[in-house]
């Protein structure tokens, strides 16, 4: 199909193909009225002198061609349609605040303790959670914790988090170099993007306290060992319900579970963080750790094949990441000159093309599952640009809530 704007030919008439001209032409939908810098004039004259060789063809481009040649004006013209009747839509047909539907499928991998496949549009990511045992003897400067009381007070929670972080019990890694997109070919060290993503997931995991360290501890409880009732078997995992035994011989903490959280992008079409985070959450909720007891003679933790306990991720609630990119009418090159009427659009859940054209992005992690369903903002990240201010941010929270519900429903 032809691109609606017949005038797109202008880019090549006067603009010397630079998007500056493209934009001008697209604003004033009139070939001749386009003003162009002096620098162009001599070239025009050159052009005239050769019109003899070949008549100037009227170029008009098909959609994909236009998109390839000058993506920015292409997206711009989509967002600012001529007729006020047609609603502004993005090149992918979505409305600015419309996110891609999310699909989540869990426990499809049999070698992982928990796994999830998350698909949002054409971005597909697989997450596998794998638990391994870290004997406390392997931890340099390990500080044994005596208290068995289920940590309730804030200070305890803080201690718990410190524990998670100090011993590095959560190991998220994101692999992008799987050919999931042309720019991510394997055989190279992790790209900056991949490293950033891993780190963001890492810090968010800790700051949100998603994983309850209690469920990662492996205890040795001599008294429980003494009378071998399967009931006490649980004692080795959950310390809360064996306080009564604890007087006799205090159980000791012998080892930790370490969760290796590996993410593999199968297909990449923008907004990797939201997808990755959703996958991590889904996989963690899917994770079941085998019940482990400490075998003092062998000095190692022995797990049961049959009895598995789901990982406790209740404390962290359900934080959901929601990312948007800000698309500005003028690119940087122009911004200086025509600062005045620089329109912008906030594009939720940007795809590859949009990400390549936007400099300003914001990610808000919200959790609406709290008491009374009121929204809690767990984290806000914003990079680049100057558009998003307090007002926008406030509005964006609303968008994030909507997104949260979508993801929550997908999780069910």
């Amino acid at each position: 199909m032809k691109f609606p704007l017949g005038s797109s030919s202008l880019n090549w008439m006067y603009g010397r193909g630079r998007q500056s001209a493209a934009i001008r032409n697209l604003e004033t939908h009139n070939p001749t009225s386009t003003s162009h810098p002096e620098s162009d004039s001599d070239l025009l004259h050159t052009a005239d002198s050769y019109s003899s060789i070949m008549a100037i063809p009227s170029l008009s481009f098909s959609r994909p061609t236009f998109a390839k040649l000058s993506p920015h004006p292409y997206l711009l013209t989509n967002l600012s349609p001529q007729s006020p009747s047609t609603k502004p839509s993005r090149t992918n047909g979505r409305a600015p605040h419309e996110a891609r539907p999310v699909q989540i499928h869990t426990s499809s991998l049999s070698h992982a303790h928990g796994s999830a496949l998350v698909r949002s549009g054409n971005t597909t990511v697989v997450c596998g959670v794998r638990a391994e045992i870290l004997p406390v003897t392997n931890i340099p400067q390990y500080r044994p914790r005596s208290s068995l009381q289920p940590s309730t007070t804030a200070s305890d929670e803080a201690a718990d988090r410190a524990e998670l972080k100090a011993y590095d019990l959560l190991v998220p890694n994101i692999e992008l170099a799987t050919g999931c997109a042309p720019q991510f070919l394997p055989g190279v060290p992790p790209s900056t993007l991949a490293q950033t993503l891993s780190t963001r997931v890492y810090s968010l995991l800790h700051s949100c306290g998603v994983v309850d360290p209690k469920s990662l501890r492996i205890w040795h409880d001599p008294s429980a060992e003494a009378k071998k009732t399967t009931g006490e078997g649980d004692a080795s995992m959950q310390d809360d319900n064996d306080d009564d035994e604890s007087e006799a011989e205090p159980p000791q903490l012998m080892a930790y579970w370490v969760l290796y959280i590996d993410l593999l992008f199968v297909s990449f079409d923008g907004n990797p963080f939201d997808a990755a985070w959703t996958a991590v959450m889904a996989a963690l909720r899917d994770t079941k750790l085998p019940e482990a007891r400490w075998d003092p003679d062998r000095e190692m933790a022995i797990c049961s094949r049959t009895r598995k306990n789901p990982l406790d991720v209740s404390r962290g609630g359900l934080p959901v990441a929601c990312t948007a990119a800000v698309f500005q009418e003028k690119e940087y090159a122009e911004a200086g000159g025509l600062a005045g009427e620089n329109r912008h659009w906030v594009l939720l859940d940007p795809d590859r093309l949009e990400e390549s054209l936007c400099r300003e992005t914001v990610t808000m992690v919200v959790d609406c599952g709290g008491v009374g369903g009121e929204t809690r903002i767990r984290s806000i990240e914003k990079q680049g640009g100057t558009v998003i201010g307090r007002e926008l941010m406030r509005g964006f929270a609303g968008v994030a809530e909507k997104r949260w519900r979508e993801v929550r429903d997908a999780m069910q």
């Binding site: 062998r298 000095e299 190692m300 022995i302």
Partner: protein, 385 residues
């Protein structure tokens, strides 16, 4: 890739070479017979610091040395390992956690099933080709090929068993010390073969599962491959390079010859060992042929023939002032050429018929065939360890 370095021949030369090799009998550039190996000079025991070593120099100037070093290593084995599937076969990435868990059902079970068990982990084989990185696909391919032949049937690894708690760890360092003038597989394989034949391990003095200690008298050290009156009862495998051109089967091709191969195979051959493993028990009855060697087929790998990457010739029909242009992506032009024009070289497409491949293997394994000759030739080399 490295397994198929380019031979710099013009399409005309390729066409000529291919034609002469497809004649019956084939005419090889160096005048060899179809199944004749390049003459070679071999010696063993060149590296006194090793348990066994060898050096082979082909007439064409390619040369390789192999050194074998053995170290005593504590056997990693854990009952946990077994059920969980943390077995040693693939335990590169696994920590040494099972260490110290050497007691328990698993270990006992392991000993029950066979008093000596070997792990492929106990052999570490590294190949070095000048000018190729050691993680280069071609080098890895070579190493994997030599290793899989050596470990086939699990017989070799068992030789390294000392007792339940200890084993020999064998390091094979295979170096090509000349530039790779031809595909080095045969050379490397033969050299490795000799080095292993010459390899001796100190005699074990300790008994049972106690920490092993050894007889320091080197003269008393037994050969890794036991020998009776100067002849090895069992022998390491050899890998032969075989290729087919037209209807001819050609052994040990030079680089140029390989460049026009229709198909090339690496065939690894072992010799029937005196001790029959469980693996061979059932085939034992077939093994009783008296004369010649009882060869065994250990592995076959397809070598990507470089011929696929050779520049095509341009028939006069389509040749023109724009000669360069005719080779451009233009389906008609290509397809029209693909009707083979006499005397115009065209890189082969597709693969090879199953029958042809079978014939190659057959030829290599034939009783009294090439494999036999090679083994005999290697027998002639007297061993200095």
């Amino acid at each position: 890739m490295a397994s198929t370095q380019h031979a710099l021949l013009s399409p005309a030369e390729l066409a000529y070479l291919h034609a002469s090799l497809s004649l019956t009998p084939p005419i090889r550039p160096d005048g060899r017979a179809a199944n004749q190996f390049r003459p070679l000079a071999a010696e063993t025991g060149i590296l006194p610091g090793t348990n066994g070593s060898a050096r082979i120099c082909f007439a064409d100037g390619t040369e390789a040395i192999v050194g074998v070093k053995a170290e005593v290593e504590r056997t990693r084995r854990g009952d946990g390992g077994r059920e969980d599937g943390v077995e040693y076969v693939s335990s590169r990435l696994e920590g040494d956690f099972v260490e110290g868990v050497s007691s328990g059902e698993g270990a006992i079970a392991a000993v029950d099933e066979a008093d000596r068990v070997g792990e492929s982990e106990w052999v570490e084989l590294s190949v070095e080709i000048p000018g190729a990185r050691d993680d280069d696909a071609g080098t890895v391919f070579l190493a994997a090929m030599l290793a899989e032949a050596l470990l086939a049937g699990g017989e070799f690894a068992k030789k390294l068993w000392i007792n339940r708690r200890f084993h020999w760890k064998l390091y094979l360092d295979i170096l090509l010390i000349s530039p790779p003038l031809s595909y080095p597989l045969p050379l490397l394989s033969l050299t490795t073969h000799l080095a292993l034949l010459a390899t001796r391990l100190p005699r074990l003095k300790s008994e049972g599962d106690e920490d092993p200690f050894f007889d320091d008298d080197w003269a008393a050290a037994p050969y890794l491959y036991a020998r009776k009156d100067g002849k090895a009862t069992a022998r390491p495998p050899v890998s032969l390079l075989v290729m087919a051109v037209g209807n001819n089967i050609i052994f040990d091709p030079s680089k140029e010859e390989l460049a026009v191969a229709d198909v090339a195979l690496a065939v690894s051959v072992g010799e029937e060992t005196a001790t029959t493993t469980a693996a061979e028990a059932d085939e034992a009855q077939q093994q009783q042929q008296p004369l010649g060697r009882n060869l065994r087929l250990l592995s076959v790998r397809t070598i990507d023939p470089p011929s696929r990457l050779t520049p095509p010739g341009v028939p006069n029909a389509t040749n023109s002032a724009y000669g360069a242009a005719t080779t451009q992506k233009q389906p008609e032009a290509r397809a029209a050429e693909s009707e083979a024009v006499e005397g115009v070289w065209k890189a082969p497409r597709g693969g090879a018929k199953a029958l042809v491949m079978a014939a190659l293997v057959q030829k290599a394994l034939m009783r009294g065939g090439v494999a036999d000759e090679v083994l005999d030739a290697l027998d002639a080399v007297d061993l200095v360890a």
